[in-house]
Symmetry: C2
Subunit: 246 residues, 2 copies
């Protein structure tokens, strides 16, 4: 039996919902999860509002093996992720001694004042463990199955590199792509029959459109390489037998 | 009193969650909603699974003025959005006579067979109204406050152009950006005080990082232009008074 490990992502930030900032972390996490054998099953984007964060987090953290959050862990008043995560877990949000010392030392070394705002970045839910931040010192954290990371893509990616080795992973989902020169309508019938004959695979059909023409990418996914190859071969034979003007 | 109209988006598709396709519709919808005065308050991405679509849709459609979905309305077996939306509303999913005729005529004109797969694109929840598709004929649809659109960005955008004039809009959220040459830690304290003095605005602080340097974009948002200007002026004065080496 394949081993299934699931994940959800919670993107926190008004700036994504207003369109001001275009998210670049969802696709990055999705690629990483696929590569290591974790199924990303849901993503939610919520505003910088405590109730929205708490209720989304409490819904998804019980439903999936892991949760990854991005955004809202900086030093300003709109960075409320640590407080919201603490509230979701029912624990106090307080200065973490190790994070406080780390930040204090870092600012002292750079001759910068350790302001009240900067001290905010040392606040974490009680019991949280650090996720090291090699870019800008202020750590993310893990509590339970929830990994809280920065929204700035370069920092998020560096934190995720530190998280990945700690994760339990499942049987990787393999995939094979078959290019189909015609639109979905022509192949929808036979493709559904192939899917029906290969229930241990997931066959996706992705319509593409450009320069006035349609084509389709057919993607077969399976955790078992033999199952993948059997379905892929049928899809390829089906496409090879097409009349391209039909 | 400002008039508040809210929206949520439901992105449907395994290919987004696997990372194979990078979503380009969330940012587009976010920009459009901001431009016309609708607050996008939540986005969810779910797989091509009926239960996931039905439960997400039933949660968000009661919570926001409008819902916009993308993906899963094509002719193949993995296009299950119409069925899932019908199930969420508790109505049958059936051939829509107008959509059927439109598609039949379109394929006849192009000398293409109106296959069973293509006929699937004429299926809609009973009572749904068309959203015209000027790109590839097969319509999207609206039922209740839910607008069901294609996932292919050019088709989604064309459908959205047809939806926008039908929407009730609210008082537009205005915004002003102040560039801040230093990181968030320096300005976090005074910025929180400005936010506190201007509760009718939303002041966001967005850390930027590149080439080894931090800087910050400060964004003031408000529906009232006087409130916006008052807070913006204070943020600008605060930034002007900074010691850039602090």
């Amino acid at each position: 039996m394949p081993d299934i490990v699931t994940a959800a992502m919670l993107v926190i930030g008004d700036e994504i919902l207003s369109g001001r900032t275009k998210d670049r972390n969802i696709g990055y996490l999705a690629d990483m999860m696929t590569a290591i054998g974790i199924d990303l099953k849901e993503v939610r984007i919520v505003p910088d509002e405590e109730d929205a964060i708490v209720s989304a987090l409490n819904e998804i953290r019980t439903r999936y093996t892991y949760v990854f959050t991005t955004g809202g862990i900086g030093p300003t008043h709109d960075d409320i992720t640590a407080d919201a995560v603490a509230k979701a877990f029912g624990v106090p949000c307080e200065y973490d001694a190790k994070a406080y010392a780390l930040l204090e030392e870092s600012y002292a070394r750079r001759g910068m004042e350790f302001t009240e705002a900067r001290k905010r970045m040392a606040r974490m839910p009680r019991g949280a463990e650090h996720i090291d931040n090699p870019v800008s010192v202020a750590p993310g954290f893990r509590i339970g199955n929830v990994h809280v990371m920065a929204g700035v893509p370069s920092i998020f990616q560096a934190m995720l590199d530190n998280v990945v080795p700690t994760l339990k992973t499942g049987t990787r989902m393999l995939s094979a792509t078959v290019h189909c020169p015609v639109g979905e309508g022509t192949i929808g019938g036979p493709l559904a029959e192939i899917q029906h004959r290969h229930p241990d695979t997931i066959i996706g059909s992705y319509p593409k459109y450009g320069e006035g023409k349609f084509w389709t990418e057919l993607v077969v996914r399976a955790r078992n390489p033999q199952a993948l190859e059997a379905a892929r071969a049928e899809v390829e034979a089906m496409v090879a037998g097409l009349n391209p003007t039909a």
